[in-house]
């Protein structure tokens, strides 16, 4: 079974987790200056890389918290997981 490291609870089995899509998507701060293109980018456009990808995950059946992960989309290998607000750099440069 795939084991995912929750930043709060430690290593836990995959069925406890829910995938939350691409990480680090920031909502446009000021609605009055937000353009249609900004909203298009925010709402709909997502990366779909082959390789390392920063994703949101939620320990839905455990502590319930959202966190971020860097996962290799070709091997399903989790390089690292980290709390919301952090952004660890990787040698080789993740997306």
């Amino acid at each position: 079974m795939l084991v995912i490291h929750c930043p709060y609870c430690g290593p836990r089995p995959e069925p406890e987790f829910a995938h939350g899509g691409q990480a680090h998507i920031a909502r446009p701060q000021d609605p009055t200056t937000t353009t249609e293109d900004d909203l298009l980018q925010f709402l709909y456009l997502r990366e779909n890389p082959r390789g390392l990808f920063r994703e949101r995950w939620r320990h839905a059946r455990g502590c319930g918290r959202f966190f971020n992960a860097i996962r290799d989309t070709t091997t399903d290998f989790f390089v690292t997981t980290y709390k919301v607000g952090e952004r660890p750099e990787l040698p080789g440069g993740a997306a």
Binding site: M1, Y8, C9, G10, R12, P13, E14, P15, E16, R61, G62, C63, G64, R65
Partner: protein, 182 residues
């Protein structure tokens, strides 16, 4: 509301050699930051654990770590008013949330030499004593149902299920028990 008398009925769970129903109790879902946690520890009478996935007890009251700012507080039903009054008083002016979930859940003890094996029939966690020691607690899954799991002794697990899921969880355990004739 004070005139309203509610009878708390737990789902019927048939006792077995390895399964013991837990009587109705007061359950509070408590959330708050470090300041609220410190205040609640004093007024509840149990130091809320700050270590992940650990439970603490004092007398008949227990506090289970559920998330970084979330706890399940357990107390006898008879402490209902006194617990709420004490918590509310000590938490005045401090951001927090307390939700009464006494009726939402039902509990039973899974015990005996086969307890770990029985739980393993539907729970994907590593339940070995080294990985899941006495005093450890967590929210997790059994089959497709969410459960709160708390190891109170080497061969005793306190399990809380959402009340409408109780028959589902118990029936699957009974099914598993047929295999090891527990």
């Amino acid at each position: 509301m004070s005139n309203l008398t509610l009878t708390r009925r737990s789902p019927h769970i048939e006792a077995r050699s390895w399964l013991e129903p837990v009587q109705a109790m007061l359950r509070l879902s408590f959330r708050g930051g470090p300041e609220a946690i410190a205040a609640a520890s004093t007024s509840f009478g149990v130091a809320l654990p700050t270590t992940a996935c650990r439970a603490a007890s004092h007398g008949a009251r227990s506090a289970l770590w559920v998330g970084p700012d979330e706890y399940l507080l357990l107390a006898p039903e008879s402490d209902d008013i006194s617990v709420r009054t004490a918590l509310t008083a000590s938490l005045a002016g401090i951001a927090h949330s307390i939700v009464d979930i006494s009726h939402r859940q039902a509990a039973f003890l899974l015990k005996g030499p086969h307890a770990e094996w029985l739980l393993g029939s539907g729970c994907p966690l590593d339940l070995d004593l080294a990985a899941f020691p006495v005093g450890m607690c967590t929210r997790t899954v059994y089959m497709k149902s969410e459960i709160y799991l708390w190891r109170t002794a080497a061969d005793v697990f306190h399990i809380e299920t959402w009340r409408s899921f109780t028959p589902y969880v118990v029936d699957h355990l009974v099914d598993a028990a047929r295999e090891c004739a527990a």
